[in-house]
Symmetry: C2
C-alpha cells in the first residue's frame, strides 16, 4: 500500500537497516546517508510510527488529560505543555474529560494502551480520590488539582492562600458579608473554599458558601441560593465560568457592581477586563504551570525513584473596579487608593 522502508532500501540500493540508521541516529557513512535521503524524497516515504513504537518500545508521547478544553485556563496550560514537550522531542496526546469521571477513566485506559511515557493530569475529585488505590501504570504529574498527598508529583496554585487573599482584600475594602461559590467537581474548588472559610474565620466573619457544578447556569442558580438569607455585599468564586454566571445573575437582578455587590474570582480572562467595571481576579501563571509540570515529568522519567515533589506557584491579584471600596461604615477610616495588582 504505502511505501515502506523496504521500498526506500531498494531505491537506494542499501539494506533496510541502513535506511533505518540513516533516518535515525545510527552510524552511517555520509555517502549512504545522502543516497537514502534522496531515495526517501524520490519515493515520498514517511515512517510508520506504529511500527516504530512497537519495535522500539517507546511512544515518544506524553498524555495530557484536562477537565475542560473550553476553559482558557486549561487551553493556556496546554499550550505551555505542548511547547515544552516539543522542545524535549516529545509529542502530546491531548484529551478532554469534560469533568466526567467516566470519560476520565476511559482516557486513562487509552493512555495506557497508547503506552505514553508519562501523564500530566488535572483530575476530577472522584478520580483524584481513586488514584491512591489504582495508580496509573506510568509516571503522573498532577496539575491544578490536588491528589492523594505524597504520592504524585504536582504543580498547584496556592489555592487556599489565593482565596484567603481575596477575602482579606475585600475586608480591607470595607466588605463584611462576603459569600463564596465554589466548583464541586475539583479539589481546587474545595481548597479555595477552605481558604475562604479560614480567612472569614480569622476576620471573625460568618461564612456563607455553596458548591455547584462549574457551569454558568449552575452559578446563576447558586447566586439565588446565596441571596436566600439576605443579599451579601460581596461574592467570590473559584472559577471563571462561575464568575461569568454570577455577573449575569447580578445584572439580571438589576444590581450595580460594586455598589450593590462586589465580585471577585479566578483567572484573568480577557472579558474580565472588558466588562465595566472590570472584575478583580487572581491571575494564574499558566505558562509556568505547564512548563513546570513538563519539567517534573521529564525528571521523573529520568529518575523514577526520586522523592515526590509538590510545586506551589503563586498567583497575582488583578485589582479592578468590581471590588472598589464599600460605602463607608461608621467605624471605617480613610483609605488611600489601592494598588492595581499585588503578588500573593
Amino acid at each position: 500500500m504505502t511505501t515502506s522502508i523496504k521500498d526506500v532500501a531498494r531505491a537506494a540500493g542499501v539494506s533496510p537497516a541502513t535506511v533505518s540508521r540513516a533516518l535515525g541516529k545510527g552510524p552511517v557513512s555520509e555517502a549512504l546517508r545522502a543516497q537514502v535521503l534522496e531515495a526517501v524524497r524520490a519515493t515520498g516515504y514517511r515512517p510508520n510510527l506504529a511500527a516504530r513504537r512497537l519495535r522500539s518500545q517507546e511512544s515518544g508521547t506524553i498524555g495530557l488529560v484536562l477537565a475542560d478544553i473550553g476553559n482558557p485556563f486549561f487551553t493556556g496550560v496546554a499550550r505551555a505543555v505542548e511547547a515544552a514537550a516539543y522542545e524535549a522531542g516529545l509529542r502530546v496526546l491531548l484529551c478532554n474529560t469534560d469533568e466526567d469521571p467516566a470519560r476520565e477513566a476511559a482516557y486513562l485506559a487509552l493512555m495506557q494502551e497508547e503506552r505514553v511515557a508519562g501523564l500530566i493530569l488535572a483530575p476530577t475529585r472522584a478520580t483524584a480520590e481513586g488514584l491512591a488505590e489504582a495508580p496509573p501504570a506510568m509516571p503522573v504529574v498532577l496539575i491544578d488539582r490536588p491528589g492523594p498527598p505524597g504520592l504524585f508529583d504536582s504543580v498547584l496554585l496556592d489555592n487556599a492562600g489565593a482565596s484567603a487573599a481575596l477575602v482579606d482584600y475585600l475586608v480591607a475594602q470595607g466588605y463584611r458579608r462576603i459569600a463564596g461559590l465554589f466548583g464541586q467537581t475539583s479539589g481546587t474548588g474545595v481548597e479555595r473554599a477552605e481558604g475562604y472559610r479560614a480567612a472569614m474565620a480569622r476576620h471573625g466573619l460568618a461564612p456563607a458558601l455553596r458548591f455547584v457544578l462549574p457551569q454558568v447556569e449552575a452559578a446563576e442558580a447558586g447566586f439565588a441560593a446565596l441571596c436566600q438569607q439576605g443579599r451579601p455585599e460581596a461574592m467570590i468564586t473559584s472559577n471563571s465560568l462561575l464568575l461569568m454566571g454570577l455577573l449575569r445573575a447580578a445584572r439580571g437582578a438589576g444590581l450595580r457592581i460594586p455598589a450593590d455587590l462586589a465580585l471577585a474570582g479566578f483567572d484573568n480572562e480577557p472579558w474580565t477586563g472588558l466588562v465595566e467595571p472590570g472584575i478583580t481576579v487572581i491571575e494564574q501563571p499558566l505558562e509556568a504551570i505547564g512548563r513546570q509540570a513538563m519539567a517534573l515529568l521529564l525528571e521523573r522519567l529520568r529518575t523514577p525513584s526520586a522523592p515526590v515533589r509538590k510545586v506551589m506557584l503563586s498567583g497575582r491579584a488583578i485589582l479592578r473596579g468590581s471590588t472598589a471600596s464599600a460605602p463607608p461604615r461608621p467605624q471605617s477610616s480613610t483609605k488611600t487608593p489601592p494598588p492595581s495588582s499585588f503578588t500573593l
Copy 2:
C-alpha cells in the same frame, strides 16, 4: 515488561488468537470468552494500540488540524468533531498550528506518519494554496477556510454573504462610512473582505479596509490605520480576536459605542454579550460545522470516488447595542426598533 496477549492466553488456557478474538469481533464461544475476560481482569492486560494498528493497518483515528486552539470557534468545532468521531468509533488526534504554515506542514506530515484514516483541516492561506499541488495522502475535509476549488470536501460558512449582511444591516441602521478589518492568514478573512467590498459597492459606498494578523495587538494597530483618514462611523471585522482589539482601541481612544463608533464582527463569544453595549456579531453554527465535517469525512472514507461536496452553512446575526441606529441624517426616515437576531 507490560503484560501482552500471550500472558492473557496462558492465564486463560487458550491461544493468543482466541484472546484476540474474544477481545475483538471474532467468533468465540461464550465459555472461552468468559475465561478470557476473567484472565484480562486478573492480569490487568491492556492491548497495545501500536501493535494493533500495525497489524490491522487501521489507525482508527482521524486528524484534526486547527489554526488556534485558543479561539473558542475552534474549541467549539473540536468538541463537535470529537463527539461525532466518538460515536463513529474513531479517535481524534488534535493539533494546533497557531496559524504557522511551517507547523502546519509538520503536523500534516505527522498525520501521515500516524496513518490517520482522514483529516479535518482548517488551513492557513499558505497551506490552502499548496494543497492542489501536494495533496495529503488521506481524505481531507476542509473547514472554516476555503481551499483550491473543487478538490476537497469542505464545510464553510457563507462568509461573503455574512459580512455583506453585516454591511447591509449597518447601512439600514444609518451608517455610511463603514471600515473593515480582516485577518490576513486565512481564506476566511479574504472571503469576508470580499463580501464587505461587494456590499459597500452595492450601496455606492467607498470601502476602507485593512488586513492584519489575527491578533488583539494587530487589531489595535489596524484601528489606528483605519482612522488615519478621518474616523469611520462603523467598523466590522472578521474575527473575534480582532473584535476584541477594536473594542480596546476604541475605548482607549475614549470613543462611545455606538455613538462615536459602531462595531460588529464574527463569533458569538460570551464576552460579546457581557460588555456594554453588547456587540453585534454573526454567530457560527459550531456544532453543525463539526458534525457536518465528520459526516463528510465518513462518507468519503466509505466512497472515495464520490463527487466532491461543498457544504455552505448559514450564520445567525445577533443584534446588540453596538450597532444601534446612527444619529439621524437629513434624508433618513423613521425606523421601527430592529429585531434582536435574524438568520442570514
